[in-house]
Symmetry: C2
Subunit: 274 residues, 2 copies
Amino acid sequence: MQEILDASTPGDWRRLDPKNTVYLELDAGRVVIELAPGFAPAHVGNIRTLAHAGYWNGMSINRSQDNFVVQWGDPAEDDKDRKSLGKAKAKLPAEFERKAAGLDFHALPDRDGWAPQVGFAQGFPAARNPEAGTAWLAHCYGMVGAGRDTAADSSNGTELYVVTGQSPRQLDRNITMVGRVVQGMEKLSVLPRGTGPLGFYEKPEQRTAIKAIRLASDVPKKERTALEVLRTGTPLFEELVEARRNRRDDWYKVPAGHIDLCNVPLPVREVAKK
Amino acid sequence: MQEILDASTPGDWRRLDPKNTVYLELDAGRVVIELAPGFAPAHVGNIRTLAHAGYWNGMSINRSQDNFVVQWGDPAEDDKDRKSLGKAKAKLPAEFERKAAGLDFHALPDRDGWAPQVGFAQGFPAARNPEAGTAWLAHCYGMVGAGRDTAADSSNGTELYVVTGQSPRQLDRNITMVGRVVQGMEKLSVLPRGTGPLGFYEKPEQRTAIKAIRLASDVPKKERTALEVLRTGTPLFEELVEARRNRRDDWYKVPAGHIDLCNVPLPVREVAKK
């Protein structure tokens, strides 16, 4: 894989857009999330508003369930104790799917069990149903979703989770996905597992404090993390996928000839600041 | 799922065999591993010999690579500094596959991309090629394998890894799998990620000490962890798989109608000691 990346040209990479980039600031450092407005415009809009207002600052990561997700948000159990949403909307539509029309979707060569087609769109692992004309984001490692209650439209973007375990693809089309962690997953994946139901921490002091969640565009340029993500719709990316489908190094005795969507790496690199 | 387990009878469960059970003792507590002699008899034989002799006691977990594996063994880099294998064999055959004949294999209803058939055998996630008449264990979360160098037969069971990330099924049939963590995964999955190549720790003090690795049959009965594992070849287990293929609770709006091998839970319970 490194050989392929070494052969990449500047055009194979894209710079993260600060308006679509969120920094989750922990004592352990920064986690960088790329938002997916192309799939969840209403949720991303709310997340931008909430981050801009400092909604999550001083809140905490309240849940870490082994082989599943970590999750943060307002830990208050009673509605009356919850922090005000300020200018953010209290109610959003469910954004489980979008129209496939107009979406630049690059399908993987291999069949998937969960969806008619899988591949990448706008840099995210995604799925598509050509018959229904729909597309949606897939629950791969590092993907970020908006927690909800039983009603499909009960998420407002305040309660966010990150996949830290075996891809729970059964959640696809059941919940609104809002983006992906592009740097810092190892700060979330090591969080002690909560011992309460669903991996929630039983004692407040077990939670991990959130110093701040900020939109990169609200952060002074010199404090931003300058990241580039490999484009997914290029010949180079196809070459990378093929190199992972059939490993060519001497260590592998039986190349798989296959790859699952969530096994495809999505390279990210830091770039020198100007 | 809990409803199905609540309806189980004692015959739906099997007690772990102490001769096939290994305890990895850490400061954080005990990790319980079930060995798979039906798939890797030579490696399991060596692991029993090594554990019996206390080979790993005082060694360490030397590697934690995010979304991939943790790994332990002798951290010595030079062969001359390595601990003696004692009565264990220095050389073992590669045990990547076994004959499918004679193996009680229960296939899942869904197609898999990595293998002609997948399902469960002897309680482990496994795959089968009916044409070739072969079967092998699958790299799902919690599965344990024997690290090797480039030569297929270069593993001896001293260097063991546990899958902590998205199932790296490309490793199937490329490395000998020896068992599965049945309890205590959350003690391994939270280990800080190593910052060296492949997630190895760069400083010795970053490693996690191994107090002991013991065969349960070498441990006094009252100190054993009494565990039962749900049998995988039963009508109850099929019911459980179906309940996970199509979630019936109100939360799910679009049941997947599918499950991947590595998404099937393998329930374990502690039983009261007599």
